[in-house]
Symmetry: C2
Subunit: 247 residues, 2 copies
């Protein structure tokens, strides 16, 4: 844009993934232990450089996702989160990272990663509270990702991405409770969710497991925008610890 002889600086581009899931009713994020030199041995988000010159950013995120989890790509929600490019964030030089948010149904396996030295599901609160130190600016990225999820499940069908193909309303409620860190009234939730046209649609039969009356099964419906939205309960007074309510 200035003189002809001037040439613009180039940067290295990475994608990082905030992969969220529910394990035993708790919101968890996938972290890997870094095997390479900057921040070696420290937990970090899965991610990496673009693999070749013309790889699409979203494709790169999908590639990293399948490298880190054994997920049949169709059933995972993946969206761009934000871009982090502070000059000093990576000691190797100017590295700009396009962070993505992925939501996966609860994988039973702890996921022994193909690529990374070690991968593990870490409870979100461990990261939010600052108890666990992450490499680079990854704590900030996780915080932003969780905040995105928290606001987005209010008005979009994102919460169903935490469930498998078939789920009960109680399971869906657990998603909301885990992500928001609140408790909801089972009976009101039941109707509120069903009142949203096309959010969830019934599937055939019921199942029981938990030892009461068997619950009906649903699958995600065509609706992506929830109306009316499921609004997060207001924090009644001074209750703002690390995401959990006064326990």
């Amino acid at each position: 844009m200035e003189a002809d002889a001037w040439s613009p600086p180039s940067v290295l581009l990475t994608v990082d993934l905030v992969i969220l899931t529910l394990r035993e009713g708790r919101l968890c994020v996938l972290l890997v232990e870094r095997g390479e030199d900057p921040f070696r041995g420290m937990p970090a988000l899965p991610g990496g450089f673009l693999s070749h010159d013309c790889e699409e950013i979203l494709d790169a995120a999908h590639r990293e996702l399948s490298e880190e989890t054994a997920l049949t790509a169709g059933y995972v929600h993946l969206e761009q989160l934000a871009t982090y490019g502070a000059a000093g964030r990576d000691p190797r030089g100017r590295v700009v990272s396009v962070a993505h948010l992925a939501i996966a149904p609860g994988l039973p396996e702890p996921v022994a990663g193909t690529d990374a030295s070690d991968a593990a599901w870490i409870p979100a609160e461990s990261v939010l509270s600052g108890a666990l130190e992450l490499a680079f600016d990854h704590r900030r990225i996780v915080t932003d990702g969780i905040e995105r999820a928290r606001t987005k499940i209010e008005s979009s069908a994102l919460a169903t991405a935490f469930c498998g193909e078939l789920f009960t309303i109680a399971e869906l409620q657990q998603v909301y409770e885990a992500v928001w860190g609140t408790e909801l009234d089972t009976r009101n939730f039941y109707r509120k969710v069903q009142a949203v046209e096309g959010f969830i649609v019934p599937a055939g039969s019921g199942r029981k497991t938990t030892g009461g009356r068997p619950a009906r099964l649903y699958r995600a419906g065509p609706t992506t925008v929830l109306f009316p939205p499921l609004s997060r309960p207001v924090p009644t007074a001074a209750e703002e610890d690390t995401g959990e309510k006064g326990n």
Copy 2:
């Protein structure tokens, strides 16, 4: 992350700006006519490459903003929007753009840009409707930026960024009506806005201009999150033209 000899591909990084304002009650976006070769002569978003190796992305956005508008930097809202990096989006090579959203109070001057060949405020609907063809993927970026503004004024104090330091409630209402493309009830809006603690705070005296009872003046308050939110009226039936309601 793979072999030691492999070196990751690098990309060129630009920032692009979706600068929104209100002019005569209409939502407008600032576009420049490109003077350089790719898409020369076509309208495009203001923006450009990072100026030097270690320039912060947000700083670059601020720099482009002040190059294009004569705004006293303190009074402009600026936030990251999203990153666009499709492989074929720029014929010059792999150029990744971090788009930003800026909200400015209505500038009276048509802004003869310092840097660009020509700059003009274009009504948002001209871009949304597709009537005007933009360079690169800039139409998409403008669409995303407007959508962001539309949803964000519901639950954040962003709308005040469209007004000057002092404004009347009627002026604030015009912001909502222009951005959403709907009409609102003056009297309900009046109370709803004041019911949000710390959203707007009164300033000294009143002014009249429009020839009725003079209105009280307000300034933006400390609150950034609006509770309860100002919810966008539901589209009653089949009314979804290009952002305007059936006129």
